[in-house]
C-alpha cells in the first residue's frame, strides 16, 4: 500500500522555479511529471532497514540563499583541507548549499572539449547532451518516490562530459558544502565518459554545521561508454541529524570499467545505494566502500553489481566499523542475468562492532541466472576481540589507542586498495577523526 502524501511544493512552484533557472522545456516537463508521480509512488524499501518513519518529504526551504566565497582561501577549513590550493591548473567545482560558487576548468581540458559545469548551466548551455543522458539509462525518475522527488526538486549538482578518446590524468573534483541548517539538497551528478575516454572524479558532501535536520536526496549517474574508464571517488561527511538518500549508479558499456571508491562517513541516518550495471560484454565494475558509524545513527548500505554482458566482472569489497549505538545493514548483491556467460561476481563484506550497543548485519546475496559463471562471497560480522586489545595494552598502549589501531587495521585492506590517492588520504583523516 502506498500512502499518499502532501508535498511541500506544488507544480506552480516547480514550473516557476524551472523557468527562473532558464531551464529548457524538456527539463521543466520532466520535473512536473516527476512531481505528479512523487505523490503516488512507493518509498524505496532498502532490505532490512525500516525507513517509513524517516522524513524525506517534509521540509520548508527548497533553496537557501548563500554568498560566494571571496577566494578559495576563504573557504571553511574543513573544505580547504580537501583541496589542493597550490595546484595551478585545477579542475574544481564548489557548491555552497544550492549555489554554484566556484568553477575552474583547465585550458587543456576545455581545449579537448571536456565539459565540467554545474547542472543548471549544463541545462542551459548543453541542453541536448544533458537530455540524452539525464535520468535515462541510469536512475529513472519513476523508480520510487525519492527518485521522483529528486527529479522534481533538483536544486544542485554537476555535469561532467568527457568526449571520445580523451584521457584525463588529473582527478576532477567537486565539493558540495552544507553550511546552512535550513538547507535541503536534491543534488544530481552526471558523469558521461564517451568511447575510449578515461576520467577520475572525486566528490565530497561536507557539512560544516554541527547538527542540522536537512534532507539530502542525492543521485549520481555514471555512464561509461564503450571501452571508457571512470574512477569515481566520494567521501561523504554529512552532519548528525541529516537524513540522506544517496543513490550512486553506473552503467558500463562494452569493455568499459567503473571503479568506485566510497567513504560513507555521514553522521546522520543514511540510505546509500550503489549499483553498477555491467551492460556491455567484457565490462568491469569494482566497488570499494569504507564505513564508520557512530552515535545513534541508522544506516543501510546496499551495493549491487548486475551482470548483463558476457565476460563481465564485478567486485564488491566493503568494510565497516560501528561504534556507540550506531546500527547498519550491509547488503551486497551480485546478480548475473541469463546470457551473461563467463561472468564473475565476487563480494566481501565485513562489519566490526566496537560496543555492546552497536549493531551490524551483513547480507551477501548472489542471484545467478546463468550456468557458465563464477561467483563467490565472504561476509562476517563480529565484535572486537578482547584478546587483541589485551595483547596491545600489555605493551603499554591505552585502550583507546588499541581500539584505534584495531579499527585502522580492520579498514586498512579496503583503504589501502582504493584506486584514488586523494580519496585514500581524505578517508584516513576522516577515519582518524571519527574513531577518536
Amino acid at each position: 500500500m502506498t500512502t499518499e502524501i502532501k508535498l511541500p511544493f506544488d507544480k506552480e512552484y516547480v514550473s516557476s522555479f524551472s523557468k527562473d533557472m532558464g531551464e529548457p522545456a524538456w527539463l521543466t516537463e520532466l520535473r512536473l511529471n516527476a512531481l505528479a508521480n512523487a505523490e503516488n509512488l512507493a518509498m524505496p524499501k532498502p532490505d532490512k532497514t525500516k525507513i517509513d518513519k524517516w522524513n524525506f518529504t517534509q521540509f520548508e526551504k527548497h533553496i537557501v540563499g548563500s554568498e560566494d566565497f571571496a577566494s578559495l582561501n576563504d573557504l571553511p577549513e574543513d573544505v580547504r583541507n580537501l583541496i589542493d590550493l597550490e595546484a595551478g591548473d585545477q579542475n574544481l567545482y564548489i557548491q555552497r548549499n544550492n549555489r554554484p560558487t566556484h568553477l575552474s576548468v583547465s585550458k587543456e581540458l576545455q581545449g579537448k572539449g571536456v565539459i565540467f559545469t554545474d547542472i543548471f548551466t549544463a541545462a542551459r548551455e548543453h541542453s541536448d547532451l544533458l537530455q540524452k543522458y539525464f535520468m535515462k539509462d541510469g536512475v529513472k525518475t519513476d523508480e520510487h518516490r525519492l527518485t521522483a522527488l529528486h527529479a522534481a526538486l533538483l536544486n544542485g549538482g554537476a555535469f561532467l562530459y568527457v568526449p571520445k578518446n580523451v584521457e584525463i590524468a588529473e582527478p576532477i573534483q567537486a565539493v558540495y558544502i552544507h553550511d546552512n541548517k535550513e538547507a535541503n539538497l536534491f543534488n544530481h551528478v552526471l558523469v558521461v565518459a564517451d568511447d575510449n575516454s578515461s576520467v577520475t572524479y572525486v566528490e565530497n558532501y561536507v557539512s560544516t554545521v554541527e547538527e542540522a535536520n536537512g534532507i539530502f536526496n542525492i543521485v549520481t549517474e555514471v555512464i561509461a561508454n564503450a571501452n571508457a574508464k571512470v574512477q569515481y571517488g566520494a567521501v561523504d561527511t554529512l552532519a548528525k541529524g541529516t537524513t540522506a538518500y544517496v543513490n550512486r549508479r553506473g552503467v558500463a558499456g562494452r569493455d568499459a570499467r567503473i571503479e568506485w571508491a566510497l567513504g560513507l562517513m555521514n553522521d546522520g541516518n543514511t540510505v546509500s545505494e550503489n549499483t553498477t550495471n555491467l551492460v556491455g560484454d567484457g565490462s568491469f565494475g569494482d566497488t570499494k566502500t569504507v564505513v564508520v558509524g557512530r552515535g545513534e545513527q541508522t544506516q543501510n548500505f546496499t551495493t549491487k553489481v548486475i551482470h548483463f554482458g558476457k565476460n563481465s566482472e564485478g567486485y564488491i569489497l566493503k568494510h565497516g566499523v560501528m561504534k556507540d549505538s550506531a546500527s547498519s545493514i550491509f547488503n551486497g548483491i551480485g546478480k548475473i542475468e541469463h546470457g551473461a556467460t563467463k561472468s564473475n561476481a565476487e563480494q566481501e563484506s565485513r562489519v566490526l562492532m566496537l560496543s555492546e550497543k552497536a549493531r551490524g548485519d551483513a547480507n551477501p546475496i548472489l542471484l545467478i541466472d546463468e550456468d557458465d559463471v563464477t561467483a563467490g562471497h565472504a561476509a562476517s560480522v563480529g565484535r572486537v576481540d578482547p584478546l587483541q586489545l589485551y595483547y596491545l595494552m600489555s605493551r603499554g598502549i591505552s585502550q583507546k589507542e588499541a581500539e584505534r589501531l584495531v579499527i585502522h587495521g580492520f579498514l586498512a585492506p579496503v583503504v589501502n586498495a582504493l584506486p584514488i590517492e586523494g580519496v585514500k588520504r581524505q578517508l584516513t583523516a576522516v577515519i582518524e577523526r571519527k574513531v577518536k
Binding site: 591505552s398 589501531l405 587495521g409
Partner: protein, 261 residues
C-alpha cells in the same frame, strides 16, 4: 635503586568460577632470572596472565606488587607502563596493523605527549634489534603476527622485549616450537637484556633453554602452587628424572589443577 621487585603473595586466581591458582608466593628482583617448570595444566600460564591482567582471569585473593605499588589496581596498559612485560604463549594476530606501527605506538605510549620518538630514531632502533635477532627486515611492515610461523611469533615477542626494555619480564614458553638456531637467537636476546635493572621469569618445559640462560632460581608448579624451589641443578634433575620424584616426595598423585594433595 638498582632494579625493581615484583612480589607475589598468596595469589589465588579463578577462571570462569574455577580456582586455578591456590596461593602462589614468588619474588623476582632486578638482576635475577627465575625459571618456572611444571607439568601441563598446573597453572603456569594462569600465573603469567594474572600478573599482566588478562581480562578472563579473576584474582580472588592475595597480592601482586611492583616496587610496593599494587599491580592489581592497575589497568593492563598501566602495568606495562610500570615496567612489566609478558611474552605470551599464544600471541594475538592483528590484521591491518603493521609490526612497526604497533611498536612505535607502544614506545610512544611511554613518552610524554610532544616528546615522541622520531621516526628516524625509531627505524634505526628497530632495524638494529631486528638484525640482532636475525629477523628479516620485511617483518617490520608485515601485519602484527598475522601469518607468522610459530617460531617467528616467538622471535617477534623478543623483539618487543628488546624494544620496550621492561623492568620485569615474564616469558611464557618462549622456547616452544623453536628450532635450535632460533633458540640460540632468542636466548641471545634475553641474555642481552640481562643486568641489574632487569628481572625475568621464564616459564619453560625444557632444560635446553636453560643451557643458554642460566637461571638463578628454579621453581616447580603443581596444583596451582609453587611446590618446590631450588637452584639451576633442580632444572637439570627434572630434565633427567621427570617430576615423579617430586610427586612422591610431596605425596601428590595428580599434579594438575583441581586435584588436592
Amino acid at each position: 635503586m638498582a632494579g625493581s621487585v615484583l612480589t607475589i603473595k598468596d595469589l589465588h586466581v579463578a577462571i570462569e568460577g574455577k580456582e586455578i591458582l591456590k596461593g602462589v608466593n614468588l619474588e623476582i628482583k632486578g638482576g635475577e632470572i627465575h625459571a618456572i617448570m611444571g607439568p601441563n595444566g598446573t597453572g603456569k600460564s594462569t600465573l603469567s596472565s594474572a600478573i599482566m591482567g588478562h581480562p578472563k582471569y579473576e584474582v580472588t585473593g592475595g597480592s601482586i606488587t611492583l616496587d610496593g605499588k599494587d599491580v592489581l589496581e592497575m589497568e593492563v596498559d598501566e602495568r606495562a607502563q610500570a615496567g612489566l612485560f609478558l611474552a605470551m604463549q599464544y600471541p594475538s594476530e592483528i590484521s591491518g596493523v603493521t609490526n612497526a606501527d604497533f611498536l612505535r605506538s607502544a614506545i610512544n605510549s611511554r613518552m610524554e605527549e610532544g616528546n615522541e620518538i622520531s621516526l628516524m630514531k625509531f627505524i634505526r632502533k628497530m632495524d638494529s634489534k631486528m638484525e640482532f635477532l636475525e629477523m628479516d627486515l620485511d617483518m617490520a611492515q608485515r601485519y602484527l603476527n598475522e601469518g607468522f610461523s610459530g617460531g617467528e611469533k616467538k622471535r617477534n615477542e623478543i623483539l618487543q622485549l628488546m624494544m620496550l626494555q621492561p623492568k620485569i619480564a615474564i616469558l611464557d614458553e618462549i622456547d616452544s616450537g623453536l628450532d635450535i638456531d632460533a633458540l640460540k637467537v632468542v636466548s641471545k636476546g634475553i641474555n642481552e637484556m640481562r643486568g641489574e635493572d632487569f628481572g625475568c621469569l621464564i616459564i619453560t618445559h625444557y632444560q635446553r633453554l636453560l643451557n643458554y640462560i642460566t637461571p638463578d632460581h628454579v621453581h616447580v608448579m603443581m596444583q596451582g602452587r609453587v611446590v618446590k624451589s631450588g637452584g639451576p641443578e633442580l632444572a637439570q634433575r627434572l630434565e633427567s628424572e621427570g617430576y615423579d620424584w617430586i610427586k612422591q616426595e610431596l605425596g601428590i598423585e595428580d599434579e594438575t589443577v583441581g586435584q588436592e594433595a
